[in-house]
Structure formats: C-alpha cells, structure tokens
C-alpha cells in the first residue's frame, strides 16, 4: 500500500489490518501532509520551505494495556501490526477497560475561503514581506521575525468498533516578533493568529504587526514591575492562558485517575470559586484553533463544564480515563500527529462571562496592576508562573504607567478562590504556537475569558 492509493482504498486496507488482529480493541490512523513555511528576519529571509510527510500508527488495547507502533512506510502496516500484537502479550493488564462508543462514519473538511494549495508561493512571500516591513519600521526595532505557515493534512481514522472517518484539514497562520534595542536594553514583543481555514487567515494582519512593533518599542524604556503582592486586573488573553495552564491541565483526567489525593482535590462537587465562575472546554466550536470534529480515539467532542457556578463538575477524558473514573467521555484524546499516541488534551478552554464591567474592576483594584497579554506560562499542577506581555499601574480607576517583565506566580486553587470579579467581555485567542504535554508540542488549542479581578497575586522581582 502506498500513498498513491485512493483514500477509500487506504481506509479499507487499514480496516482489514486491524480487523484481523485478535485483541479487545484496535485503531489505526494515517495522515498525509503538505506544508509551506516562510520566515523572514530583519532584512533577511531566514528560511523558506515546502515539503510533505506521510505517517501512521496502529494502537491496540489488549489484556488491559495499550501497545502502539508508528511508521512512515505504509507498505509495512501489516508487519508492524503483527509485531505489535506479539509485543502486547508481554504486558499484563493494569487497565480494567476502556469506554466503548457507537461507530461514526463521516467525512469532515475545512472549508477555506482561499485554499492555501492554490495560492502561489509568490503571493505568500509578498504578504510576509509587507508585514515584515511594518515590523521593522520603528528605528528602535533591531530585528524581527515574521513567520507564515500553512499545512494541509488528509487524516484517516478507523477502529474495530466500526468507526471510519476522513478529515481534510487546512491550517494557516502568521506570527510576528519585533525585537527593539537601545544600548544594552533588548525588548521583544510577539503577536500571532492562526486557525483552520485558508490563506484568508493570514491576510489583513497589518494592525497586528503594527502593534507588535509598537509594543516592543514602548516596553523598551518601561521599568520592570516591582516585586510584591498586588490586586490585579487580568486581560482576556492572560485570563485564557491562566485558565489553560493553571486549571485546564489539572482537569486532565490522566493526572487524576490513579492518584487518590488528586481525585480528592479535583472531586466533582468541590467548590473552587465564586458563584459566577464557569469554566468550559469545548472541542466542537468550529472557527477556533482548538476545533476537532472528532478526537484521535474516534469520540465526538462536546462542551465539558469543568466548573459550573464555582463548583467542579467535569474532567477531560480519553476512553481509558472515562472508563476508570466512570464518567462520560469528552472527546479530549488528541495526538500531535498520526505517529504519536493520543493523550488527554484540551481543545478550546475558557472562562465564561460574568456580571462585572472592566470599569468596576479598575475602580476596585486601586493601587494594583493591570496585566495583559502573555509571553508564556508553566505549571506544576499546584503552582503556576506566567509572564504577562506588559503591566500597567492602576491609578484613579485607569491603567497608567507601563511596566515590562511582569511575572505572576501563585497557587492555582488559592488564585481561583481569589477571583473577586468576572467581566462580561470574553475574547478567545489562538496562534501558530500551541500547547505542549509529554513531548507533544505545539498542539493547536485556543483559550480565553473576560477581564478578571484577582486579589493578592505574587509578582516576582526586586521588592517594591
């Protein structure tokens, strides 16, 4: 079997291979991918590339354990499957079972307004050169990085429950970084946008490029935020990063199901925040970067209400964790590629709107900080740190003096409990980057929320 076979032939072949394996459950995935990348930096073309890849995997559940084999060479599928079955005999069952699902037979496809495959390289390159020109316009901008990426993937999935799915997926996006420099001061600022669709997602991003350049220059001469404990108003972008990093990962059932203490901490019914706090993960929202029509175990996703009115009410599941915790599956088993194993991942994760206005929050947070955008975030499932893109002093109910290097840190549950006000202006964010877990990165996700007022947040730095 080669990639010249038709999708239908390939799917039939995969079905016959997994159907011949004597095991409790088997699934196969194959993906064919074509992608184009452009990276410009300052006056230079950093790299241009265009390439293709092909890969797949078979996973079986047998005697209470998973075995997995991945390959690039599709002609070897039957022999890999046989070796896999033999290896699975070495595993003694530790998993009691997996969630069984009804078969899904479907074809899904992204509907791009302008398919990336038919836009010339010339046009892609010209657009990026224009954006890069905007980025490097301010004289204090030392260098830039403007990246374009599109990828067109044909995915096939089938399992021994009778599910057979194909998905023509098209992903496109841009990211902009401006690095400003003055003497020994160096200040980067980045912006990114991406999603499922065509070339239209890369177009019309001039303002985004202008903002990246402008912010890098403005922040260059801002002071670092003084360290200490503050009441902070968090913007929708950083609220989204917080809820993804600090809370979303805690809700992933593979961190919970075998750990009694985690089970207690994350038990449904436990109050973690005020009445207005609602947190949702939903892979079914088309148009967002974390959209999946079906997960990589053949489960159709839907909204999971992780926190409802301040109370824990759901977890994110794979087939295995749903079975073990006796909860409904959520369609959150995702793999970064057809050659990686599905693990429990987020999709589109957000805090739902609350009752409060931004003005009311700024009034309440007198003497505190307004913190916005995110350079990154990391968590160890108890504590988190995030760096905001920038901060502003809150004075007389308005954001004032600009600060750079704002690093927030805290305990996740304490911080959820310290959310004092929730805004009504939710926005969602996703870009060319993505989420990383167990070496699978960057997985496309989106995150967001409204403005939040959080009490007593630790900001790192030289003490004020």
């Amino acid at each position: 079997m080669t990639i010249n076979a038709s999708p239908r032939e390939l799917l039939l072949h995969l079905q016959s291979v997994i159907g011949s394996l004597s095991c409790d459950y088997a699934e196969a995935r194959v993906a064919l991918n074509e992608s184009t990348g452009i990276a410009l930096s300052g006056e230079e073309v950093d790299s241009i590339s265009s390439g293709d890849s092909c890969g797949g995997s078979i996973r079986i559940f047998n005697r209470g354990a998973w075995s997995f084999a991945s390959f690039n060479d599709l002609s070897e599928i039957p022999s890999r499957a046989g070796a896999l079955l033999r290896r699975s005999a070495m595993l003694a069952g530790t998993a009691p079972g997996i969630f069984r699902s009804k078969p899904v037979v479907a074809h899904f496809a992204t509907r791009p307004a302008r398919a990336c495959g038919i836009v010339s390289f010339d046009e892609k390159f010209d657009l990026m050169r224009r954006y890069n020109g905007i980025l490097k316009r301010p004289s204090l901008v030392q260098t830039t990085r403007s990246m374009y990426r599109d990828s067109r993937t044909f995915k096939l999935y089938c399992n021994t429950e009778g599910t057979a799915v194909s998905y023509e997926r098209s992903f496109c996006g841009v990211s902009f970084t401006a690095i400003a420099k003055d003497g020994s001061l160096i200040q980067p600022f980045s912006e990114s946008a991406a999603g499922f669709g065509g070339f239209e997602l890369a177009q019309g991003r001039e303002e985004m490029a202008e903002r990246a350049a402008g912010m890098a220059v403005d922040l260059l001469h801002a002071e670092p935020a003084p360290g200490g404990t503050y009441d902070v108003v968090i913007d929708p972008h950083l609220a989204g990063v917080f809820i993804h990093e600090a809370f979303g990962h805690l809700s992933e059932a593979d961190f919970i199901y075998e750990n009694d203490r985690m089970k207690e901490l994350m038990a449904n019914g436990r109050r973690v925040g005020g009445e207005s706090l609602c947190i949702i993960d939903d892979g079914s929202i088309e148009g967002l970067t974390g959209y999946i029509p079906i997960d990589d175990e053949g489960i159709v996703p839907g909204p999971a209400h992780l926190v409802k009115n301040g109370v824990l009410s759901a977890h994110l599941h794979s087939r295995e964790t749903a079975y073990r915790m006796d909860e409904a599956p959520t369609g959150n088993a995702r793999a970064i590629s057809a050659t990686s194993q599905p693990i429990v991942r987020m999709t589109n994760t957000y805090i739902e709107n609350g009752p409060d206005s931004l003005e009311a929050m700024l009034d309440e947070a007198q003497g505190g900080l307004y913190v916005a955008d995110a350079l990154g975030g990391q968590t160890n499932l108890e504590m988190f740190t995030f760096s905001a893109g920038y901060g502003r002093e809150i004075k007389n109910g308005r954001p004032g003096k600009l600060y750079r290097d704002v690093m927030l840190s805290g305990n996740t549950f304490q911080t959820l409990a310290d959310i004092a006000m929730i805004g009504n202006d939710r926005a969602m964010f996703g870009g060319l980057g993505g989420c990383g877990k167990k070496g699978q990165s960057p997985l496309p996700v989106s995150f967001g929320g409204p403005h939040l007022l959080v009490k007593n947040v630790l900001i790192g730095g030289r003490n004020r």
Binding site: L32, M90, F384
Partner: protein, 431 residues
Amino acid sequence: MILKPPASLCKKCRWYDVIGTAGRSIPVFFRNNRLYSIAEKETSGVGVRVNVDGKVGFSYTGGDKGLETAMMRAIEIAPFGEYEEYSLPSASDPPAVELDAGRLEETDIAPVLSAAKEMIARILDAFPEAQVDMGISYGSGERRIQNSEGFEGIYRHSSFGAGITATIVAPDGVRLSVSEGVSSCGPVSYDAAVERLLWKLERACDVRRLAGGVLPVICTPKAFASLLGIVASGLSARSVFKGISPFAGKLGQRVFNESFTLMDDPLADGSVYSYPFDDEGVPARTKNIIDRGIVTEWISSLKYAARLGVRPSGNGSRGHSSLPEPSFSNIVVDGGDDDSNSLFATVRSGVLVDQFIGLGQSNTLTGEFKANLDLAYVIENGEITGRVKDCMLSGNLFELLAADSVFSSERIRYGAALAPFVLFPAVHFTS
C-alpha cells in the same frame, strides 16, 4: 535510502546538499508505579537544500514521493530565498567518536523492564506514598549527509535514555515532584539518578518559610544546566549577527568571571549529543566558547559563520525537515577547586535550587530571569533544613556569572550539559 538526486536537477544548482535521517526506537512508559505501555516508533525523511544563482531554497519529504519531487520544489522556491555565498564542505575524514552501541531496539526488552521495576520498588520502599512515572526510550538510527562538493558522510548512532519522576501530594494539596534523568548511547544504570532523587525527596518533606531579600543561592547541576540555556542563546552566531546578543562585538573580551569556562564538545564519547560531523558535513571539533571568562568563539552554522566572517564551528543542526541553525552539542562547564560541601559551608542563610518553573519566559536575551521555584531548599548554617515554596528568584544571569560565582569540583550530566553546582553570593528572592 537513496540520496543521489538526478543529474538534470543538479545541473541547475550552484550547489546542493541532502540530509537523510532514519531511526527506530522503543519507548516504554511506567505510569503510577506500573508498566503502562510499550511502543515502537519508526521515523525517516529526506531534506534537500539547493543554491540556485546564489539563492537558497529548501524542501523535504517523508513520504515516498521521494527526493526528486522535493528537489524540484526546492529549486522552484529558491528565487525567494536569501543570497548565501558560502561553499559547502568537500570530502573529509571526520574525527572518531563513540556513538553507536548497535541496534538497541532489537535487544531483549525483559531486562529493561525488570531494571525499571527494581528502581521503582526502591523509591516506593523509601516513600510508599510516592507515585513514580518512568519513561525509557532506546533505539538507534542513521544520519547521512551528501553534497555537490564531494562530501559523503554516514554514521549510525544509538541512544538509551530514562526519565524518572516521583510525586507525593500531601493531604493539603502540597505537591512534591522530583525528576531525574540519564542518557547515553548504550544501556544505562539508573542507580545514581535514583540516589539523587531519593536525596532530594528526603530533604523536601518539611516545608519552611524564608523571608524575601538578597540571599546567597546555590544551583544544583540540574538547575544550572537549565540556566545555561540562557547563556547559550547569546553565544549563537545567529543572535550575534541579528544584533540581539549582549555579547556581540565582545569576541576576545572578558565578559564573565575568570572562574567560568564553557566548552562545546561534540566529540564526547558515549553522549547522545555527540557527532563526527555536523548536519552540514562540517567535521566536529571540541572548543572553548568561553575561556576563563573571555568569549573566544561563536557557535555557528555555515550561513552565520559566513555572515560574521568567522571559521565555521561545526554546529549546524537540523532534522530532515528544516534548514540548519547553530546549536550547541554537549555543553561542558569547568568545575572549581572545592566540592559542593564546601560551597554549602559558606552559606549562613540561603537557598538551594533544583527545579524552576517558568524559566525562559522572561526577557532572557539580556540575561534577565524570573522564575518560581518548583523545588528548592532552605540552607541554614551550611545545612539543608527543609523545602521552601511559593517564592521566586530574579536576577540577571550574565551579571551573576560576571561577579564572584563559585563552582563545585563535582559535575553531573543533565541532557546536553555537564555542569557543576554553582554558588551565586547575592540573588533577589521574593516570597
């Protein structure tokens, strides 16, 4: 794998090179103290870089469309590429380095599993409430570089790596998680890693408070290895050329304390980060990058060496699907005269750091760092008295390394870095 492109396409190029990679590995996961999954991973691909009329294009393939299609695509997009005037290396005799312990993926898995089970049992013996996760991956592969100037290189490499994490969650939700790892090109023993892990767990059971201020801080080799990433990015010819390295224009100047010497060593036998030639076919060589505080050379690929007008350092690094970028091989930091005990003895009240969270989110181009301490200990009168948490360190790493930092004589390898303990006499600590 065929790396010989058709002559009709070669004729269109001023030069070209082809990289082919292939590998097979067996990843094994133990989750929550038990064997969870065994997998087999196979990867392969080919990348081709072409120079047409001075401009560089690139394409890759992992499927069976093959080299010819990829090369046609690369030639097609080359007019959009950058002018790159350097030439590729010609045929050479690369230095010898031990990288290959055979096809590890074909060896018997039973002893691998039993050694892992033994280690997990040892940890559970000391900490019955711990949950141990362990990832082991072993395998081998092949790397080929071929170019239009007559270079043809191929080498096989093998690797065996293990990461062990023990986690204890206290009834109040306080989470203690300690990770250790070990890797080599042949089968490894976990003994030393597990001993370090137990040492760190034992000392972290009591949580103590420490007031914020400016304190002496000791980094374990593991913590120091993660900080070294910040130094490494400033020593790349790429960031020097882009004008964003604070060391640009300081070649031959003293930038750090005399006690600090940092080497790039691609010829370290047995390391999975070693190679006989880099991913552009440049023969590997061991060299000081910082010699007693003085910056002596940049880490470069052919492109950025040419841009800066320096001798290529042999650090062009890539997979089959990307263009080469300058990257360290093995980072080796010289040890000091005294062992870590004598470093501890000088600290009346301070912090020992082992794991950061959020390092690298700050503006690290300038050496600035701010990070929460995932695993750190209070040092009182030279002794570790407990764990300190919910606190942050901040400072400028370049300033710390330029001041009176002290290095221990013993060193431990973490990933690509062989690093000592380091004592920084004064660092900002927020709690």
